[in-house]
Amino acid sequence: MNNKIRELILEMMHYSNSSHIGSCLSIVDILYVLYFKIMNVDSKDVNKINRDKFILSKGHGSAALYATLAEKGFFEKEYLKKYYIDDGVLPGHLDMQAVPGIESSAGSLGHGLSIGLGMALANRMDNNKGHIYVLLGDGECNEGSVWEAIMLASTLTVTNLTAIIDYNKLQSLGRTNEIIDQKNIAKRWEAFGWDVCEVDGHNLDELESVFKAKVNGPKVVIAHTVKGKGISFMENKLEWHYKSPNSQQYSSALEELRGK
């Protein structure tokens, strides 16, 4: 099913001629595990009180979330054709009013962890069992506001908040670690008081077990991912941060995803 989500993303990007396919493909396996193996969410009762909540802080990965939500039944897949086009429904960056199932709008980097922390605090106050998951880009961690939230979350020892870093090691102008060195990213979060797990962000079993592991404070899952994962000519290529596939690239990518 994760490759089905990839297909949907590919179609959306090709149809709308929009960017960020690489950033979307790197988080598909994480989204798949969360929405299909881990999270307590119900597409028939989107606002149910004890639900888990997911925030995609790197809002430019919107197509991946839209595709996952559609696959999970939150809305008709027809809507995916209305991504990033005239008279569309789904903007390039997340709008929580666009379709059911989006817990927070996003599009400017560095906002999601604070919002997720607020939700985690509200759940703790209300004795609500819902868990909050926030997915951040590795480049996004350049934003100072992310670190403001990191510092506070561990101080308040929230145990119902999980941050996930999409550590694909590329951001818009180059290698993440060459722009802001984050080679010791795990140590950085650990130093700020978080429980840190590092996983292969494309290993479904590893992801599932790390999300299920109990911790005593806020948890961060550093998911080593590959930008453009699943489509070989896009994998680990900076250019696919911005490009969209032309017809020939679309066909060959589709073939690869379908295993032909």
Binding site: I115, L117, G118, L121, D126, L152
Partner: protein
């Protein structure tokens, strides 16, 4: 005004357990009672305004009514993008409480002056902008803010401002208040300039001139009705605010005059388009930056 704010908030928080208070480490001798009474609903998030507003939005998205308290420049501009996206765009029930309207922190220097806040907050869709003129207005606005729908910015003075209105004055978010009526000129004030406005009207009366005085505790939505209705018989209108002349009360009134074809003379009294490097108390800076060369006739 800040004591009125916190006292009213505490009373409301006793009745409504959704009310939370967040401070980015501001409010010494103001917030402590709230913290003592409601420790679970009080968060000092540290000196980190962006996070303060983001956390507030997360709480509000979960059904809380959240007040974020700090000095005006920091609770409006340091985190403006979080206000725009997390609060205004998502239409959350976050109330930004800004202390130190205009030149309240005069000698502290221009970093602490709030002279652009009304303009920038007014430009945000969904945002309601309240600038109460005395503790009576503060009390009513804070009480009404609890059940008000959508985000709010509430601009307060500091402490020790006198009551201008009687305790039973009817005050409603979104409505202006006509305080005196006179045919010679019309004066509209907002925020902490209400007291000055009332003084000016009294001085004018001593000179035999009768003025209509309107207090405008809400700048957005703007009560254009009261302006249009009160303008009958007047030939000149003055606005008075401790804020830049650009984008605040004066601009809002100018928009009403222009868009309704009223063709009346308008004089905006406020701070010119410049940062000040002058040092002094609020009263000293008011004289230098607002009332210097101002003549109301």
């Amino acid at each position: 005004m800040r004591n009125t704010f916190i006292n009213v908030l505490i009373e409301e928080a006793k009745k409504d357990d959704r009310i939370c208070l967040i401070t980015p480490d501001m409010g010494y001798s103001v917030v402590e009672n709230f913290q003592t009474l409601f420790p679970d609903r009080f968060f000092n998030v540290g000196i980190a305004e962006q996070n303060a507003v983001g956390v507030a939005a997360g709480l509000a998205l979960s059904g809380k009514i959240v007040y974020v308290y700090s000095i005006v420049p920091f609770v409006t501009m340091r985190c403006f993008e979080q206000i725009r996206v997390d609060v205004a765009y998502m239409n959350t029930n976050v109330r930004l409480i800004g202390i130190g309207a205009g030149l309240s922190y005069g000698p502290a220097g221009a970093t602490h002056h709030s002279i652009e806040d009304i303009a920038i907050m007014r430009a945000l869709p969904n945002m309601t902008v309240c600038c109460p003129g005395d503790p009576v207005e503060v009390k009513e606005i804070i009480k009404q803010s609890v059940l008000y729908n959508g985000p709010m910015y509430i601009r307060l003075g500091k402490n020790g401002e006198p009551n201008i209105h009687p305790e039973n004055q009817k005050i409603e978010i979104g409505k202006g208040i006509k305080m005196t009526e006179g045919d010679d000129l019309m004066l509209i004030t907002t925020s902490n300039m209400l007291e000055q406005g009332q003084l000016l009207v009294k001085e004018l009366l001593n000179e035999g001139k009768r003025a209509t005085l309107i207090s405008m505790p809400t700048i957005k939505p703007f009560d254009s009705e009261i302006v249009i209705e009160s303008l009958k018989n007047h030939t000149v209108i003055y606005t008075l605010e401790e804020h830049s002349k650009i984008g605040g009360l004066g601009s809002a009134v100018a928009e009403v005059i222009a868009e309704n074809g009223l063709g009346i003379k308008l004089k905006r009294i406020g701070i010119n388009d410049e940062f000040t490097h002058k040092i002094g108390s609020q009263n000293y800076l008011r004289k230098k930056l607002i009332f210097d060369n101002v003549e109301i006739r």
